[in-house]
Symmetry: C2
């Protein structure tokens, strides 16, 4: 197969994956309270695609096309037979997932989530989540995603009000001061 | 834009649409009792893709890429804000939809539904649904689709047992005999 054909084949797959993910994929930033995190709250960007039993080969194809991620059963209850492709590794998100969908563009309203997701990943690669101003900014962006946080358990304001230095950070601040 | 670029662009769209439809599309053969149909039962192949409010532009793009179909609100209840692209025209199905997904292949288990759908459309283009043997064959194929007819209200056997010539057919048969 010539280089041109290979490029054509990988382009075909890229566009297919963009279409599939536009329907079935999800860009999400989980927000979790974690007492050992620097500011008690942790942000975890995650890309995933789920599919019913029998279609793991398509998740495998997407995994290969993106060059990252892992597939696991998503069996939340005994009736759930779906599988999910997950990418949580921050470097993979920054160097593979985000650039991929810049090359193969999403066309639904999911694209706005992807854009915000890309911002969050970039800010975290710069370590901005480690300082309270950066973390606040990231939380605000995260809460604009996925129908403006309609499915979140806590409000943005409640989380922002709850940000506080962990024991370790407090100790360090005391030592510095 | 050169012809090569145009081809590249339309190919990109084709693969995108295949990926999107593999997740969100549906190939279905409705089976309805209709006293005025030749054998009292009617088979209606339908291709559709639905999307939530805000993504009608993607349905429009798919409609343009396929070159057929129409978009309508799919508001089955007051909460339902989805829209649906529908292709029911048999000639459009035979000359546009079925060949499209031969060129831009589906990769999920939906592909098996598509293959059966293509068979049904072809048999109907040949008029096989107009004779009882052909209609029986079509019904059998239709019942293998979409999780083997799990969501059908009547069983295949019950429908096959209920096939009978309509008034018009009976009159014609009497005249011929």
């Amino acid at each position: 197969m010539g280089a041109g054909n290979q490029q054509g084949r990988s382009d075909a797959l890229g566009h297919y994956v963009a279409g599939f993910v536009d329907g079935e994929g999800s860009f999400h930033v989980a927000v979790q309270r974690n007492p050992s995190a620097r500011w008690k709250w942790q942000v975890i960007p995650e890309f995933h695609v789920s599919q019913n039993d029998g279609n793991q080969h398509v998740l495998e194809l997407i995994k290969q096309t993106l060059g990252c991620g892992y597939i696991k059963p998503n069996h939340r209850n005994s009736k759930d037979r779906t599988y999910v492709l997950v990418v949580r590794d921050r470097t993979d998100l920054a160097t593979k997932v985000v650039p991929f969908f810049r090359a193969y563009e999403l066309k639904t309203t999911k694209r706005a989530d992807y854009e915000r997701f890309g911002q969050v990943v970039e800010m975290m690669m710069e370590g901005q989540h480690l300082n309270p101003n950066g973390l606040r900014e990231i939380l605000k962006i995260a809460f604009q995603m996925n129908q403006a946080g309609a499915r979140r358990r806590m409000s943005l304001d409640a989380i922002l009000a709850d940000l506080e230095p962990s024991e370790t950070v407090r100790r360090t601040l005391t030592q510095v001061g």
